[in-house]
């Protein structure tokens, strides 16, 4: 989780990833951030994230993003 938060903060500095629960719904991160985050994640974890997974529910909390990575890892 720390590694993930580190990556997230490098893409979007100043966002409280540890505590925010509605990153996408509240507009704290936008579609550009999501694409940047996803490409960083794919690079850092060596996984392929599906375009069908680019939905707000998967990006609202750091936990859901981690779950997405774990799902992609198989």
């Amino acid at each position: 989780m720390e590694k993930l938060i580190g990556i997230l903060k490098s893409v979007c500095p100043g966002v409280d990833f540890e505590n925010e629960k509605a990153l996408c719904d509240d507009g704290i991160i936008n579609s550009l951030d999501i694409v940047l985050i996803v490409s960083e994640l794919m690079d850092a974890y060596g996984v392929e994230i599906d375009i069908d997974d680019l939905v707000p529910e998967n990006f609202n909390t750091a936990e859901s993003i981690l779950a997405l990575v774990e799902k992609a890892q198989g």
Partner: protein, 403 residues
């Protein structure tokens, strides 16, 4: 039929009465009939295009559903691509031929015959909406609609066909097909919304338009301040005309108990140009994001560009170049969505350049903001940001209206 003619409220009124008298399961037929009347009111000539879109996307939807039902995930990904491509080829090909062929020939300087086709009502809207459906079926977000008449209602639903918003099948289908209960609150708020839309469109936009036409037609005779005021009036006119039309449409839909997506969210309060485009014509931005921006950034080409820039350019810049490129393309599309003209291309590029450079400069600006201790709660900066964004938008509009 026009949203501001007297026939429109008559159509809504008569349809609503019949709608609530008919049994719930058949109510969608009333909406379909009303949409037929609305669309064919001006003549049957241009109906061919919407029929082509409806039939092609209906069939591709069914085909894609079959592919999804009979194959496992990995094979679906491969098999769905040609079908989606076919739907796009037919529909965007048609859109290109009608709207952009002549301009493309002009730009290329070729002496091939111009087509000179007139665009039918709501062409871009129903094409985008239907292709969105095809993509959603391809991705398994919705199941294909088997009833072609029901599907035609989705394609041609009359309140939104003129000026949008661009709807999504998942959100609209249940509301359209299941039939809604009579609820006077819906009728009251629907009528109120429509009336407010009429005021914006017929009163405010018209009045502002008078000033705009006068000053724009004879720019040399007026002072800078007057011209600036006229630009302001042009923005007022544009906003009231567009959002007024959308409100009339949304109010009409509400009378049937149908909620259409919002298309505007207080655009004056936008703090950045990107934010502005998330408040103005929201459904277009969302459509381009979900069906162009995301797919584009996930293609192999963009992945390779990303790897290249990450390695050879490095740092934040290296990481955001592919996204910036995709963003630039999106705003180019936003530009030409509005019209097939050099000014619209310029408008798109103007927005694209500003937003892309904003993206590339973001880390530098972030450093500056930390040094100056400006945070998201700093009020004067928010006000400055809003004023700056509005100025940028006004300049863009002035440029765009130069045709």
């Amino acid at each position: 039929m026009s949203l501001i003619s007297l026939w429109f409220p008559a159509l809504v009124l008569i349809s609503a009465v019949i709608y609530y008298l008919v049994p719930k399961r058949r109510r969608w037929l009333v909406l379909l009939a009303a949409s037929f009347v609305f669309y064919l009111w001006g003549g049957i000539g241009h109906a061919a295009y919407i029929v082509i879109t409806a039939v092609s996307t209906y069939l591709c939807g069914l085909w894609l559903q079959r592919i999804r039902d009979k194959n496992e995930a990995a094979r679906v990904k491969k098999l769905r691509r040609p079908v989606v491509f076919l739907a796009c080829l037919i529909n965007f090909g048609m859109l290109f031929a009608i709207k952009y062929w002549d301009l493309a020939l002009d730009m290329a300087g070729l002496r091939l015959p111009r087509l000179g086709l007139a665009a039918p009502l709501g062409l871009s809207f129903f094409i985008f909406q239907s292709i969105g459906y095809v993509a959603d079926v391809a991705r398994g977000k919705v199941r294909a609609e088997k009833n072609i008449l029901k599907f035609s209602l989705f394609v041609s639903f009359f309140p939104q066909i003129t000026e949008g918003p661009i709807g999504r099948y998942g959100a609209l289908a249940p509301q359209l097909y299941e039939g809604n209960d009579l609820d006077f609150e819906n009728i009251r708020s629907g009528l109120q919304l429509s009336m407010w839309g009429l005021i914006k469109k017929l009163v405010i936009a018209e009045r502002a338009g008078v000033i705009v036409a006068k000053v724009y037609s004879n720019g040399g005779a007026y002072d800078g301040a007057v011209i600036a005021f006229a630009v302001l009036m042009y923005c007022v006119q544009l906003y009231c005309d567009f959002s007024g039309g959308v409100d009339i449409a949304r109010g009409a839909a509400k009378c049937f108990g149908i909620d259409m997506a919002e298309n505007f969210k207080r655009p004056i309060f936008a703090k950045t140009l990107t934010d502005y485009w998330r408040r103005w014509h929201i459904s277009l931005g969302a459509w381009l994001r979900d069906y162009v921006f995301y797919p584009l950034t996930f293609t192999k080409l963009f992945n390779r560009i990303g790897k290249f820039t990450r390695k050879h350019v490095g740092g934040t810049l290296g990481r955001i170049i592919p996204t910036s490129l995709a963003t630039f393309i999106i705003y180019f599309l936003v530009g030409i969505w509005h019209g097939a003209n050099y000014t619209y291309i310029a408008f798109g590029l103007y927005n694209g350049l500003l937003i892309t450079s904003g993206l590339l400069m973001a880390p530098a600006f972030e450093k500056l903001r930390t040094r100056l201790k400006i945070g998201p709660k700093t009020r004067w900066f928010s006000a400055f940001a809003m004023g700056r964004t509005m100025l940028i938008v006004f300049i863009g509009r002035r440029w765009r209206s130069l045709c």
